[in-house]
């Protein structure tokens, strides 16, 4: 079979080419030339597919790109230069905890014994990975104060779904069928209400009070015999610890509901606050935040879930178990009928969890406490510097992140928070999270993490203050930023109106439908 020729399209101007520095790249499909590639896989006998009846065979070969390895490498290396990354610079990205990713963790996850193990391998040949998973579960229990942890969920949002499904199973098992509502504060992550919907609940949103905490009276008013759970992020998405957490949890439990903690901001309170010990019934961890597994350009992460005693029966299957003789095994199908069932194909994103395990080991208990202390100290220090030019809506110590607002700058100069964020790119920084949480106008959510030096924090603060000055003196410089990135601002409206989601000249698969 010969793949159909992919015609080269010159495409729009990619801009001037320089010897060094990022330039836009043609796509793989434009680089393709028939006949390139090969040398990787032995050719099978010509009759290898003779046993496959014609009606199952592909009529036209897939028109995939043909390149040789040097071109492939150069393509992706040049594309990589168009990315900002932690290895290259500072991400003050609130809510996302973009800390340094230790290199040894990458190496450990690639050890053949971990990397090559099949997920359905019999327990007897998987003792190394099972022990690692078991240990990590125990350590996350200690960190969270929860009774048990499942490592299965593939991401924070997946952990939320797992947790809320367990909440549902708990109420159902008690015959408490009318609990159909989940309460979230107005500062919550969008995943919280989206998760509640996916699990068949309706969402009730309660406001925040003037100090940035959950409005306790509003929460009490919203709680009812219909409430299944309250999902809280603590520290909140404003970077503030809910200092009335005891009263909040008492109110939730008095109403017969369960308390879910969104653990996105756990990096602030390691060894300072253990949600399970404080009374939370269920929580998720984001190991790509707190335990520094790489973000990977948007994933993969992992979102383990911890539960208290009353949710133990409902943990997803299979759990990792340790038998009396010290050997480890996975729960067998049907061993625990109360389980909510499977939430994914296999027992967890073990490749990610090896990195989280290594992170806990290299820090130890004392190091993790220092992580939180340094993260909180850095955030408060940076906040004090940024306050020179930006409004700080909540004047109390923050935890690992803080909210600043550019509403005064906007009112006086017309320059928006979005523009300030884009101008930061010119100054060498990834913009902070902006317009989240939704309850502060023109907000920037800034999180320095514990792995950035004082020099970096100072330089970033200086850059933000400079931009405030530029907004007054030369607003157009800011509103048209960035000026130094590989591309300028994009036409997102056209992208959404006329979606172009795949390369069009490839038509090999468009064989007529037999119907």
């Amino acid at each position: 079979m010969i793949a159909p020729r992919i015609e080269m399209e010159t495409g729009p101007d990619l801009g001037p080419r320089t010897a060094v520095g990022p330039t836009l790249q043609p796509t793989l499909m434009e680089l393709s030339r028939p006949g390139r590639g090969g040398g990787k896989i032995p050719h099978p006998p010509a009759d290898a597919l003779d046993g496959i009846p014609a009606e199952h065979r592909r009529a036209m070969p897939a028109a995939l790109p043909e390149l040789n390895e040097p071109e492939v490498i150069r393509h992706f290396v040049n594309l990589s230069h168009l990315n900002y990354s932690i290895d290259a610079g500072f991400y003050p990205l609130g809510s996302c905890t973009m800390k340094f990713n230790p290199k040894i963790n990458e190496w450990l996850a690639r050890l053949f014994g971990f990397a090559k193990l099949h997920p359905l391998a019999p327990d007897a040949v998987a003792q190394g990975s099972l022990e690692l998973l078991w240990d990590l579960e125990q350590w996350l229990c200690e960190i969270s104060g929860m009774t048990a942890v499942t490592l299965q969920p593939a991401a924070g949002a997946h952990g939320e779904l797992t947790g809320i499904l367990m909440v549902r199973a708990y109420h159902e098992a008690r015959g408490d069928h009318d609990r159909r509502e989940v309460i979230v504060p107005d500062s919550s992550h969008g995943t919280n209400p989206a998760t509640a919907s996916m699990a068949g609940f309706t969402t009730i949103t309660v406001p925040s009070d003037a100090r940035g905490g959950v409005d306790l009276d509003a929460l009490r008013a919203a709680l009812s015999p219909r409430t299944a759970a309250v999902m809280l992020t603590n520290p909140s998405t404003l970077g503030l610890f809910e200092d009335r957490i005891v009263e909040l949890l008492d109110a939730v439990h008095a109403a017969g509901a369960l308390a879910y903690m969104d653990g996105a901001n756990l990096n602030a309170v390691l060894g300072k606050f253990r949600p399970g010990a404080a009374g939370f019934d269920v929580m998720h961890f984001n190991v790509h935040k707190t335990f520094s597994t790489p973000h990977g350009g948007g994933g993969p992460g992992a979102g383990p879930v911890g539960v208290g005693e009353q949710l133990l029966p409902y943990l997803p299957s299979p759990r990792v178990l340790r038998d009396a003789d010290g050997t480890f095994r996975l729960e067998t199908p049907g061993e625990r009928p109360t389980s909510i069932g499977r939430v994914r194909a296999y027992q967890g994103s073990t490749g990610v969890l090896v990195r989280a395990y290594a992170y806990v080991c290299s820090h130890g208990g004392s190091g993790l406490v220092e992580v939180s202390e340094d993260a909180v100290l850095a955030a408060n220090y940076l906040k004090s510097r940024v306050a020179e030019a930006y409004e700080i809506p909540f004047d109390r110590p923050c935890k690992h992140e803080f909210v600043a607002s550019a509403r005064q700058i906007k009112a006086t100069t017309g320059v928006r928070t979005l523009d300030i964020a884009k101008r930061l790119i010119d100054k060498g920084y990834h913009p902070p999270t902006i317009y989240f949480p939704l309850i502060v106008d023109e907000c920037l959510l800034i999180e320095p993490t514990e792995t950035e030096s004082v020099e970096t924090l100072d330089a970033f603060a200086t850059a933000l203050v400079e931009i405030a000055t530029e907004a007054r003196d030369d607003p157009e410089l800011v509103t048209t930023a960035p000026h130094s990135a590989p591309v300028r601002r994009l036409d997102e409206a056209t992208a959404a109106r006329q979606p172009d989601l795949r390369w069009r000249p490839m038509t090999g698969a468009e064989t007529p439908c037999p119907q």
């Binding site: 801009g15 594309l79 690692l132 909510i340 190091g367 514990e450 979606p499 172009d500 989601l501």
Partner: protein, 458 residues
């Protein structure tokens, strides 16, 4: 702390700037009643010791076996180019590309991923990826339910057990119905039962079938699709991407949605993940697909560029009305798949699929000669079930002989007498004749059927 830059002087400087002498006031907002006093965890472990200890731990996993285990996750040759590229800090330490001006690398690779998977599946709209094949299958079923406003899904029982179980978990809270369709003796889905199920009961949102199915058997996909469409249901194909270089693509046999596991495209097995959930659909269903999408556009100067698009479906904007709560994709895994496909090219990928098929036929002969004939007589690509007397015991005994003899199907179908003594085995391009001989000889020894074996293999 091993990766923190702050010296004692740095901390003192920051505290002074805050008018503090100790860190304590910054944690004073945690009420005493819930204040923790540190963590009872091991001491910090220097990298040297950590590396040595984890090398020993990893070595306790046996990955040196002659393995014929597939069942959704497959051993393939990984060109080192894949790991070299995904190990670049510019890719793996980057954040989600919400700032497109400084994320064109990630965005273009996702667009390329979408383009290549569109080409493989014959479906134009490809999500930037989901957690794994199970999550993609569950999302495909939910998508069909949203699109048709019907609440019942029919699924062949010969879809990966764990995908169906995961779908059931996703279905349960909303009271959605997932019904399994039986299979025939040849291993394909029972079309007569499908017709009856479509005719009776509440209207059906979607029909799900696997290609190849969970027994490795090739299904009459076009026929299943026709029956589904005649009843106003959507047709979801659960596929394996490497096979799509030689098997008809879902778009060609009328599938509305394709879901599958992208692990075979350059991702190591890693005892369960991270993997790559593939989800693709037609333009007609573009507003229903959950997860990230990257589109081509231009910047202010007219230069071609890429951006996350159609974001109004997503949780951070739509909150409780979002298409799904998913808030990530498996970007680095999608990158691995893209580099893998680019490195092997269409001919290399076809050689991977055909090489697996050739080795599987060699394996079939060897196992038959050793006394383990196939269970189903339908056509297969590179995976099939064999009947082995006392399969569970033999499977364990072969492990002691260094052979991982696939998956005992009784684990997935405990109530099916016909599969009680069946092993699901696969071969890929990396399977060697030597491994096949070892399997055949070890099996013959266990079953007491030694004679004439070596000749049969050759």
């Amino acid at each position: 702390m091993p990766y923190g830059p702050h010296t004692g002087d740095d901390r003192a400087h920051m505290l002074r700037a805050l008018g503090l002498e100790t860190i304590e006031p910054l944690f004073a907002d945690i009420p005493a009643a819930v204040r923790a006093a540190g963590l009872d965890l091991p001491e910090p472990e220097p990298e040297l010791q950590l590396a040595a200890r984890l090398e020993r731990m990893a070595a306790r996993n046996r990955v040196d076996l002659a393995s014929f285990l597939g069942a959704g996750v497959y051993r393939h040759f990984l060109p080192p180019a894949v790991d070299q590229i995904i190990s670049r800090g510019e890719f793996y330490t980057a954040y989600t590309p919400y700032q497109p001006e400084i994320s064109q690398g990630t965005l273009q690779t996702i667009y390329e991923f979408q383009s290549l998977v569109a080409e493989l599946t014959g479906l134009d709209v490809v999500s930037a990826s989901h957690y794994d094949g199970a999550a993609a299958t569950a999302e495909a079923a939910l998508m069909a339910i949203r699109a048709t406003r019907r609440e019942r899904v029919l699924a062949s029982r010969a879809i990966h057990r764990h995908y169906l179980e995961t779908t059931q978990t996703y279905f349960q809270p909303a009271g959605l119905q997932l019904e399994e369709l039986p299979t025939l003796d040849d291993g394909t889905t029972d079309l007569a039962a499908l017709e009856r199920a479509l005719a009776d009961g509440p209207p059906t949102a979607a029909v799900l079938a696997g290609q190849p199915n969970a027994f490795g058997i090739l299904e009459p996909m076009a026929e299943i699709g026709r029956l589904a469409h005649a009843a106003g249901a959507l047709f979801v194909a659960v596929v394996e991407p490497i096979s799509l270089t030689v098997l008809a693509p879902p778009g060609a046999y009328g599938a509305d949605i394709a879901a599958g596991e992208g692990q075979p495209l350059g991702i190591a097995p890693q005892y369960g993940g991270p993997y790559l959930g593939i989800l693709a659909t037609t333009e007609a269903l573009i507003r229903q697909i959950p997860g990230r999408l990257v589109g081509r556009t231009t910047d202010l100067d007219g230069r071609r560029a890429f951006v996350m698009t159609l974001r109004a479906r997503e949780q951070d904007i739509r909150r409780e009305k979002a298409a799904s709560n998913i808030c990530t994709n498996q970007a680095l895994c999608a990158l691995a798949a893209t580099v893998y496909m680019a490195t092997l090219g269409p001919h290399g990928l076809r050689d991977v699929a055909a090489g697996g098929a050739a080795h599987a036929r060699q394996l079939e002969r060897a196992l038959a000669a050793a006394g383990a004939p196939r269970v189903h007589d339908g056509a297969y690509l590179n995976e099939f079930a064999v009947a082995v007397p006392d399969a569970a015991r033999v499977h364990a005994a072969l492990l002691d002989r260094g052979v991982l003899a696939g998956l005992p199907l009784a684990r997935w179908y405990p109530d099916d007498a016909s599969l009680r003594d069946a092993l699901l085995v696969c071969a890929t391009e990396v399977t060697t004749s030597d491994e096949i001989e070892r399997f055949g000889e070890a099996l013959a020894a266990e079953l007491g059927t030694g004679a004439g074996l070596v000749e049969a293999v050759r």
